[in-house]
Amino acid sequence: MINNSKIISHSPLIERFPFPFKGDSYRYSNNSEALEPPFLLDITPEYFKEIEQKRHLLKTRKEQCYQSFSHSLEGQWEILEMIINEMTSLYPNYFSLKKNKNHWTFCNHLLKEEQSFIFGNSSSLPYEPLDFIGRHIQEDLIYIAQRDGDLYMDAGQLCFPANWSIAFNLGMTYTEFHSPVPYFSDSGLAEKVRNFLLRIEAGKPWTRLNWTLTVEPILDTFPETFDEWGAKKEKVTSENAGQLVHLRVEDQRLFRLPRSNGILFSIHTHLISLDELRKNEEWINRFYRVLTDLPDYIAQYKGFISYKDKIISYLEKIIKTKEGVIK
């Protein structure tokens, strides 16, 4: 018998990092692709550290990281069921579930935790279903309801945001919560992507990679704490950019939820320092070409226009040294 169960890969970060650039130029577009295989979960060696951090944030700043409407509960149970099914079928060594009709017992063997509850009965769990299951996986989870022909952000557990907040976005429509994105919101692209999302089908999930830059390996870059992490941008020089500046990639996945007819949007955030990224020469060269080609409105929105020149001079230095060595 073949053992299909997945285990955590311990290969170095550079070998498993989701590098986002397919070409030498980056612009906003609907860059979604069919997700193959069609699963949400990715458990990496950072699991224990990130789960601990997530739970600490949820304990100390709950309103900032978790928000929901009461009418999202049906969708939340559907999300919990989908994720538990995936956890136990993809990683049976790490997670298990015992079902006796609606009485379920979920075990997380990695964390040595067990929780019994009645499926569909929210008072039988210590947290709302979305909040509960999000505490067992690295991904952030956003529930987008489809109501009367539009998409609304109706619930979410978002601990590792790239400068946005569920507390601010809750209840907004798709076009409303994208209104700060330049070009995307005023070129008609946002409506096009919304119409695409309105039609995604169960069993055919989609994925896209989004990216930005973060100074120091900080996952919880909330607008609410901008004073703490935003000030670090000023420290970047062309000498220390390799250690300080991190390429931040969001592995985003989109699933139609057939029961609620809503959409589950998951985000798995990965960070890599530019010094680490240098280990792949093709990637660091491509990253340099993307940055030099990047229009200011994108660098401005992504929040690194103030130190973009420092990164470029750092990259030029290392690329020149490398070429010097080769010659």
Partner: protein, 318 residues
């Protein structure tokens, strides 16, 4: 048909009326089936000696039942062969593939009251929608027209489960279902129609005349709307510079697919919008119920499954 289909087995076949049979489908591997929302349908793929028969049928059970799905099919002599095949050839134990549930006929979230109008086999989506609303304690009423009690599929079921909500209209008893039922409804009422194209047109026009906002009017078609003859035309594909002839009687979508053009689609009857493409030049003969009047007037997009060129040719952004 790879990852996005589910293999199922026909577990039970039941005669619901002299012309309607219901089919109970279970997952071939014994696992549970996805839950769905009221108004959803599945696409069934049946391999026959005449080729693959691909049809859409509404799911008729409580959306939280995951052990099996049920669909109900009326045998139609005018059909393209799908319903006849299901009635005359499908037997218990047969295997087939189905899509995941899709919903092109969802319940409104904001509606204060839901009024359903079913003509004949048009009852099927409302069976699951009623179950959904009942469970959530929402208010609804169901008006169901059939020739007679004997020819009325699910009559006893509806009478026992939704006795207060269901109203029957049997034409043999000279009781006619009329659009006047929409007249004196509370503000916030949404109306839903499922039946023949003529019935849907009549009810949708009446609802508009009574003052229902367009977004409070919902319907689902079973067959492509009839907009007259399917004349031949040409399309030019801008990206590949190919010119294709859409023959008389054929749809643009069929033509694209036979030429291996990766064109998206789902319902194939102009109802879901999945096959929408951008049109760069040419006059479009819109034959769908999906695009708004403004979009149709602007003429920059079309649905390839039903719409055509008014004359000559179209340039598509494909």
């Amino acid at each position: 048909m790879a990852t996005s289909t589910i293999e199922v087995v026909v577990e039970e076949i039941k005669r619901e009326s002299p012309t309607v049979k219901s089919f109970k489908l279970v997952a071939a591997n014994g696992s549970s089936l996805p839950r769905f929302s009221g108004g959803s349908h599945i696409t069934t793929y049946v391999q026959t000696e005449y080729g693959l028969i691909e049809r859409h049928y509404s799911l008729t059970t409580d959306p939280d039942i995951t052990d099996y799905y049920q669909i109900a099919i009326r045998r139609s002599d005018q059909s393209r062969g799908g319903s006849i095949y299901w009635h005359d050839h499908i037997k218990i134990g047969d295997k087939l593939y189905i899509s995941y549930p899709k919903n092109h006929f969802p319940l409104s979230f904001r509606a204060k009251h839901h009024v359903f109008f079913a003509a004949g086999i048009g009852i099927t989506p409302f069976l699951a929608m009623a179950a959904d609303l009942k469970k959530k304690g929402k208010s609804f009423e169901l008006h169901y027209a059939a020739p007679s009690k004997e020819l009325c599929a699910f009559h006893d079921f509806l009478l026992s489960i939704y006795p207060d909500e269901t109203h029957f209209y049997f034409s043999k008893e000279k009781r006619k279902m009329t659009t006047d039922l929409m007249k004196n409804q509370p503000i916030g009422t949404h109306v839903y129609f499922c039946g023949t194209e003529a019935m849907i047109r009549e009810y949708a026009e009446a609802a508009k005349a009574f003052g229902y906002p367009e977004k409070s009017i919902h319907f689902e078609l079973f067959t492509p709307p009839d907009f007259g003859p399917l004349q031949a035309f040409q399309v030019k594909l801008n990206k590949s510079n190919q010119v294709l002839d859409v023959q008389e009687g054929k749809t643009l979508l069929e033509t694209l697919l036979t030429h291996n053009i990766q064109a998206p689609y789902s319902c194939k009857i102009g109802g879901c919008g999945s096959c929408q493409v951008n049109v760069l030049k040419g006059e479009i003969d819109h034959r769908d119920f999906y695009l708004s009047d403004t979009e149709k007037k602007e003429g920059n997009v079309m649905l390839t499954c039903v719409s055509r060129a008014k004359s000559g040719y179209l340039i598509l952004d494909l």
